[in-house]
Symmetry: C2
Subunit: 459 residues, 2 copies
Amino acid sequence: MAERFVLVEKALRKMLEEKKYATLRDILVTMNSSDLAGLFDNLDEKQIPLMFRLLPKELAAETFVEMEPEAQELLIRGFSDNELKEVLDELYADDAADIVEEMPANVVKRILKHADPELRSSINQILRYPENSAGSIMTTEYVSLRPTMTVGESILRIRRQGIDKETIYLCYVTGQDRTLLGLVSVRDLLLAEDDDVQIQDIMLTNLIYVTTQTDQEEVARMFSKYNFLALPVVDTEHRMVGIVTFDDAMDVMEEETTEDIELMHGMTPSEKPYMRSTPLDLFKNRIPWLMLLMVSATFTGMIITSFEDALAAQVALTSYIPMLMGTGGNSGSQTSVTVIRALSLGELKFRDLGTVLWKELRTAVICGVTLAAACFVKIWLVDRTLLGNENITVMVDLVVCVALCVTVIMAKAVGCLLPMAAKALKLDPAVMAGPFISTIVDALSLLAYFLFAQSILGL
Amino acid sequence: MAERFVLVEKALRKMLEEKKYATLRDILVTMNSSDLAGLFDNLDEKQIPLMFRLLPKELAAETFVEMEPEAQELLIRGFSDNELKEVLDELYADDAADIVEEMPANVVKRILKHADPELRSSINQILRYPENSAGSIMTTEYVSLRPTMTVGESILRIRRQGIDKETIYLCYVTGQDRTLLGLVSVRDLLLAEDDDVQIQDIMLTNLIYVTTQTDQEEVARMFSKYNFLALPVVDTEHRMVGIVTFDDAMDVMEEETTEDIELMHGMTPSEKPYMRSTPLDLFKNRIPWLMLLMVSATFTGMIITSFEDALAAQVALTSYIPMLMGTGGNSGSQTSVTVIRALSLGELKFRDLGTVLWKELRTAVICGVTLAAACFVKIWLVDRTLLGNENITVMVDLVVCVALCVTVIMAKAVGCLLPMAAKALKLDPAVMAGPFISTIVDALSLLAYFLFAQSILGL
């Protein structure tokens, strides 16, 4: 698919240069708005307004929503007042609010000036809610029905009002003061046996809803659990203020997962997609953890320094430091990442701590013993016999393998305890992943290694 | 929410024990099927059939679909033929196929025997497609319309047929031999100005579709790109065979992300959710990579052994090995994970290799120089002055910091090259993450470290 588009893009660009506008337009109108937006993001600055003006009104607005902020800003700055108004009239309130958030102040001012009063008040309302809350991702445009309406009247109302609503398939039944009473789907309306039945007799009343303050991650989790098309958003007085639709929930899921993955690998979450980040952006996201971990490695350095004499007496010990640290890091991150993912999918709660710890400890013992046994054989056959390292005695081999087993068990214990502790402290468990845990496990495993060496080898 | 349910669960279980079936039933019918399924998964084996029989038919089937396979199997074994038939009649074909896949052969036989012929043939059709293909996650129940039907006729058809279809909101227009011609949404039908307009005059014809063989990951990506409610699935002759709905795509997104995360941290993807995995399951998923990486650490061991004399001559060098390896591992995994995520979200293609490499190299140089400078100061102030390690000379400090800078640059280069190479070779880039890259970078950085030590310190 992607490869095909490279060719299409080339052809379209050529038509634009050759001013074959009529042919170009005929092709553009057959394309999907997401694909069109991708096309615009690759055009030169001068070509963007030219190509945009070829699109019919509705498709133009849909494409506009999907573009990168840079292209949007360029277009808005070039729009006449009339053009701007036309695009704004086609936007849903949540999309308009997303765009406003990304624009510089003078562009925002111009947008709010030309938005019709209803859209303007919706944008302002959405922007008032805290970032990452249900309020900030909802749209205020939904179909509302009254409990005493009949099915026939409701269908009529949808046909009259639906054109401006983001979804018409779920309709919310509200009472006095917009209190949320129930839910009726278009499916229920169409499949109702009688057009004269009242909405209150067929509506669903045991509703699942979120409040404007609910965290967007929780909202996304509810979508993936309940498979809804949309979720109603209510305020503290249980008044209906908006809906979140499944497509926004999907975006949140992706965004939150990317954030988790970045945190898990020692990066502060990025604001921009990778291809739009400059090396300096990447540097800023990556350097803090690298710096912190570099400095905290002072501890491992100190441990090695304080056992300098033991290492000098038995030089073979040094060569196993990377293996021990690597295995510790890998064992720990296997556990921490599994626990973090289960926590973030809601499969795991803090109250499962006992179960998790017990499961991980048993796993750690099986893994640790298996690895240690394999390592013992490998050291003897490869390092001692094949490579002929005479410094390796059975006792040295034993020290390495006992330390390895203990390292794996410690790593898995730390790997499940830290994310669970973070959860209990209401921190993001994702921070307690790989790099952080490796540093702790590195220090612990070196300590264990040298202590075993001292006591078993008598160094 | 979760905490509230713990209390509800307790109360419901008590009612069951006290045989207050009527009250229990009144409460159960107000609950959502996903929450009910969660409740069943925590019940004792004997209580499951008892509680299940209290549910009204439709809710019972919805709940059944959401349960864990263990509870489903238990129920099916306990069902009378009639009960089984009743539940099966309420299932959508894709859900039924999912259940059949998880059951042992004798249960499958019983299911297929009691499914009506249409459902049976759908299940068989879905199970014929390769695992992880669009065909295996689609449902065969959708609303199809003819191009010559009018809007009014179409609405009538939906009202007559809709009850058995997973979604009625998107209707597919098919011609001779079920060839896919176009798409009409219920929204278009309801908002059409005239009931006598023919479908072919309002249908969307530039359709986005997948084939039965399309990988489910690609399907999920298309949902998140295009925000569809459903995607049509066609066979090689462009005949319509089914649809994939957004909720299934969401499940695939979650599943594929978990798989990526597991692969990225040296685990083979798990078949079961974490809480249902035994320590032995976890062991089997985790030991292969641990074993492989333990053995491949032989190389780092060999490098250290061959520079034993240099280390003996300048003992301070040993204490910086963990810091170098740790920083290399962290730098490499930051890059590889970022690249892998961008590849899996479709933000990045193989043809972007040049851009990515150039971006990463510049980032690596800024990170490497900054870290090396900070490290130089830290070693001098902390390790030499504060901790009074007299073995550390300016030249030793210099060797460590030059090696550190080179390590960061190598790590970031390897971290972006390997996942891109995997992509080009049609392997899963996620395998080329942390553990794998750390092992390569460990060896490279130790080599660089000792070579610098030899040439700068003349060891």
